[in-house]
Symmetry: C2
Subunit: 348 residues, 2 copies
């Protein structure tokens, strides 16, 4: 592990995205989204994603700087055609539109088309909450990202399809950002590299039988991941299907497109100020937060944590002590920078 | 068990609610909601709820026929003050408003105040879907219904707080209606009466340790129910908290009101027709349904079931064969009918 400041990683990745063809403002959005995820300890959506994005740009599947288009717009709704630009650039545009429309009309719903990987879904609901609105969000992935079975099935038909919400309080917003599956493929890969077992009840082998062996998951033939919920996995399947209904059927995208990795992002912003006074809403939120935090902890727990609370703590800690990166990941990022003639002369 | 036709149970319960003071139209709504839940096999929200509603009416906590009021209305949003009328009457009013506003403005959000038990949440999202909209819904309960702990805590701060969505297809809508807890208090009561154990990882005793003994759950001191998700119960807690943010903080209701059992219902209706053509949306939905249904089943499963599919099948079966009711429950309903001078002369 090496440790880097958020500032440094942001500068390096901005330069990488500019070298890949992004306008400075867009490069800065992608870099900020990745670094924020790394700061919060969510490295699966963090700075190491540079490596994949580089490949996707080179393959023409991400098109840095591609012009986005808002289509089918109404006072409360819009479709944002991201046109294969970086998913983060599209998602941030969607956040802006969602906020403006909910402030003007009470509620809004924005959906994406042709939107590449958006990174951390919770970032976008959080930004909505930071504008004193309630943010609801979901993201599905097209077929290229399908590892998860419908409940009762043995072939993958879904991705880890996260859902999220965020709401403002007097301090940090409450931010839930959860996948609708038992485990991510990325985590299984890490377990395999470390020679460890997969936790039970998370994964099936290609024949549909439970396994804890990463090698049996990867096959070939490849195994599958179970939807969230253990014996009640039909709930996780139901939630995952919702992300596809909103992000594919409603967005008018092909659910079986195998060519591209794409996300179907849907953001809903609700303005609490139209249901009552915003001041009263925030007072209610603070009372609720206190009511939850004051719960005496169960044996084995130190405290009740609100959704997102741990992520904000990790962020504070890493702003002070830096972001740790696996040596191999950093070598790969350096390799990309070298290929793109991006200098790394600050901390390394 | 005795078996009754839906028609008969509806007639009896309409007469009970009229005798309790409901106008005929409202009595018919409550009866229909209860009988539909019984038809779908969801007796916890079915006709046996008459018994509790009778007590709540007698105690003045349900006020049959009380005039409802729409407050803080905008083109996309409204607060419906149900004024302690039956929750079903309030919820159906909210459905009407949600549909009209989403058809006119693309999306709508309606929240309740002073709304008693609504019954089956999925009924309302389903009605929205039957108008070619996507329905999202959540319901929380005030303190009187709190059995569930925040993740990591050992005192109850939440109810089983369900979330739901429904979307139209070429046939029955997809309808997910899931509680955000591991088990309901009603189910634990049934297990106790049958002398059975509670499934593991669902319940804590009063000291916060896991137990499978219903007696240890009921105490006193009383135990608690865990949020949905097993080892990832923080996800269920997060979803449960969302129902309270929307249904209490946003509705402007007191989260710690101990006097009344009340639900905080929130319905969001989204009009797919503003994002693209409705025809294309439905085509996309049907393709997605087929894609899921075609998944080869895993060992131990016969088929992949869509959210709500089993409920619709049970409904078909019970429309033909009748609704089974426990003898004791039927005796109680008869007792109420007798007290209210309601005749039962059709099937019994």
């Amino acid at each position: 592990m090496k440790t880097f400041s958020a500032e440094y990683l942001k500068k390096v990745s901005i330069n990488i995205f500019i070298a890949l063809g992004s306008p400075a403002r867009e490069a800065s959005i992608v870099a900020e989204e990745l670094v924020e995820a790394s700061l919060m300890g969510l490295e699966s959506h963090g700075i190491t994603r540079c490596i994949w994005y580089f490949d996707e740009c080179r393959a023409g599947r991400i098109k840095p700087g591609a012009p986005m288009k808002v289509v089918n717009e109404t006072q409360t709704t819009a479709v944002v055609d991201v046109n294969f630009n970086f998913g983060q650039v599209g998602a941030r545009k969607m956040v802006e539109i969602a906020i403006a429309k909910a402030q003007a009309s009470g509620i809004s719903c924005i959906v994406s088309r042709h939107c590449h990987h958006i990174g951390r879904l919770g970032s976008y609901t959080q930004r909505i909450a930071e504008s004193d609105l309630i943010g609801l969000g979901s993201a599905c992935s097209h077929k290229a990202g399908h590892f998860v079975v419908p409940w009762g099935g043995k072939q993958a038909r879904l991705a880890t399809n996260p859902i999220s919400y965020a709401a403002p309080t007097g301090r940090n917003p409450v931010v839930l950002d959860m996948s609708t599956s038992m485990i991510s493929e990325g985590k299984i890969r890490v377990l395999m590299h470390q020679g460890e077992e997969i936790p039970p009840d998370c994964v099936l082998n290609a024949k549909g039988y439970p396994t804890t062996n990463p090698m049996e998951f990867y096959g070939p033939p490849r195994g599958t991941i179970l939807p969230f919920g253990g014996k009640m996995g039909y709930k996780g399947f139901g939630l995952s299907l919702m992300t596809m209904i909103l992000g594919e059927a409603m967005a008018g995208e092909e659910i079986t497109d195998e060519y591209h990795y794409l996300n179907g992002l849907v953001l809903i912003a609700v303005n609490p100020n139209v249901f009552g006074a915003l001041r009263d809403f925030k007072k209610g939120m603070d009372a609720m937060v206190q009511y939850m935090k004051n719960t005496p902890p169960a044996p084995g727990f130190k405290e009740v944590l609100l959704p997102g609370e741990l992520d904000f703590r990790t962020r504070e800690e890493r702003l002070g002590n830096g972001i740790p990166l696996a040596k191999r990941a950093w070598e790969q990022i350096k390799g990309i920078a070298t290929q793109l003639n991006v200098t790394l002369d600050m901390e390394d």
